[in-house]
Amino acid sequence: MGQFECIESYEVDKVSVVKFVDEKVMDPGRIEQLGKELLSLTDEETKPNLLINFENVRFFSSQAINKLIVLDKRVKAGGGQIRLSNLRPEVRDLFNYTNLDSVFVIRDEEAEAIDSFEQD
């Protein structure tokens, strides 16, 4: 049953994989909703492991990046891990220019990203 408007979520090997519904993550109202939905993924999880799969994302505004930063802090505060994968080159550039590729662990493909989660 769909509970989210802005993301799709499924589980692989105890990792919550998240994909974005929108190709262009830019609408301010949708980004606010996106932020809430991402944070809700950590509500019931101890040590949440999240993979954000950017497949099909053609644009990602800096406001959306801010939501990821907030999510990252929440996940890490809970002892969890977060990964990003499948970023198009232009979107990958965003994280490069902003030096956020030193904050987020980024992998080319989903499977590779799932394998990179450290096991307890």
Binding site: M26, F59, N66, E90, Y97, T98
Partner: protein, 140 residues
């Protein structure tokens, strides 16, 4: 003197709300795509405009409904030019902390100006700091 031949112009004063900013940018993006600008150029222009317009709305005009943002965009066959002006007090871009420093990385602000400068060819602020000009040349 700039003797560029502009083939399209957008010249509007928009309300100081983010939705109006997004709508204005959509009009520009449609033009760029119709004129078959390269996808990477369009992405860069989109990113720079998003940051500049949202900065004007949120930081310049503080979302004051009594204030507007003047958005001027000119397109030639090979050049994008925009001038975004708010009705705020202005600021000094040099006073904005570097968001790429370790101590600033996890802050949720300060990133926009740097993204603007990375995605267009030239960025010029007026003396007051309430108006910015962006120029990007089409890469073939």
């Amino acid at each position: 003197m700039n003797d560029t031949t502009w083939v399209w112009q957008y010249d509007q004063r928009i309300p100081s709300d983010p939705k109006s900013g997004v709508d204005a940018i959509r009009v520009l993006l449609e033009q760029l795509e119709q004129r078959e600008w390269p996808a990477k150029c369009v992405f860069g222009i989109h990113m720079a405009m998003e940051e500049a317009v949202m900065n004007a709305i949120k930081h310049g005009n503080k979302r004051d409904p009594s204030k507007h943002v003047h958005v001027l965009v000119n397109l030639s066959e090979t050049q994008f030019y925009a001038c975004i002006t708010d009705q705020g007090q202005g600021f000094n871009p040099d006073d904005v902390p570097d968001p790429t420093l370790d101590e600033n990385l996890e802050k949720t602000s300060g990133r926009g100006l740097m993204l603007i400068s990375n995605f267009v060819d030239t960025v010029t602020y007026n003396d007051v700091g309430n108006s910015v000009e962006l120029v990007k040349h089409k890469q073939v």
